[in-house]
Symmetry: C2
Subunit: 133 residues, 2 copies
DNA sequence: CTTGACCTTGACATCAGTGTCAAACTCTAG
DNA sequence: CTAGAGTTTGACACTGATGTCAAGGTCAAG
């Protein structure tokens, strides 16, 4: 598929898709005419990248994260200690973000409940199930 | 306490603290000399703001979120439907970020385990406990 | 009183993420 | 063959979050 379709399917503008590629987060084949050619897998990839970027992860780190995911997928346990350390480092940052967002999510949800606006709550996950810490 | 101490305690630069105030995310008392004066509560507030901003929530929305939290805390169920709708809207965005980050966190954690780097895993939460969706 | 550390405001700079526009090319439909 | 839609690259612009610097006020220590 071409970039326009990929953009349509991911909700990410072509401009941004090219930007991500330029940042090394994406690799696109090229058709004979020079057009970028994408596969189904790219759809997922772009969604993932956009999601992380929107979650405040700088592209530089998105690359690290996704590279690790790729390695994991390939069952490629090649991981120099240095990289592992960087990932571990990043992990705490990610967890911090999750905690902060979770707190806000819970507060918003509770608030909407308290103000009789439950109707607005769609597919947001399970109720105040306090997770085992 | 003055801005320097607040900055030290939160790890947020004075510059940024002033910026947050300017964006309406913070309200600071003023001492007779014009210096901003903060209380313990501000420490928490600044942590919270910084956390959300780092998690990719634009300051404009951080304000909405925190205002709702404040309202909730004051047991103030005054909430025009319009505001509630906006919050509900924001909720799905927050949840999307959480999902995306959670996925990355799990992948990183799994990856570090798989590569025999468990040692690097500090206080990151419970193992692959698949949450009930 | 002077000095040094910290505060104030405001201007300017930077970086990342995005949008927009232009010029040129490709392809498909008519 | 031509028109229109989509693509490519590259330049420029903008916004939000931050850093930095300057000029001047405050204050505590010496």
């Amino acid at each position: 598929m071409k970039i326009g379709e990929l953009a349509a399917r991911t909700g990410v503008s072509p401009r941004l898709i090219r930007y991500y590629e330029q940042q090394g987060l994406l690799v696109a084949d090229r058709a004979a005419n020079g057009y970028r050619a994408y596969t189904e897998q790219h759809v997922e990839r772009v969604d993932r990248v956009a999601g992380l970027v929107q979650a405040g992860i700088p592209t530089r780190l998105v690359k690290v994260l996704l590279d690790a995911e790729d390695a994991a997928e390939r069952k490629d346990p090649t991981c120099p200690r240095e990289v592992a350390a960087q990932l571990a480092e990043e992990l705490v940052g990610v967890q911090a973000r999750i905690d902060c967002l979770t707190r806000s999510r819970d507060t918003i949800r509770d608030f909407l409940m308290a103000t009789q606006h439950e109707i607005l709550l769609r597919d947001t996950p399970a109720p105040p199930t306090p997770l085992p810490r």
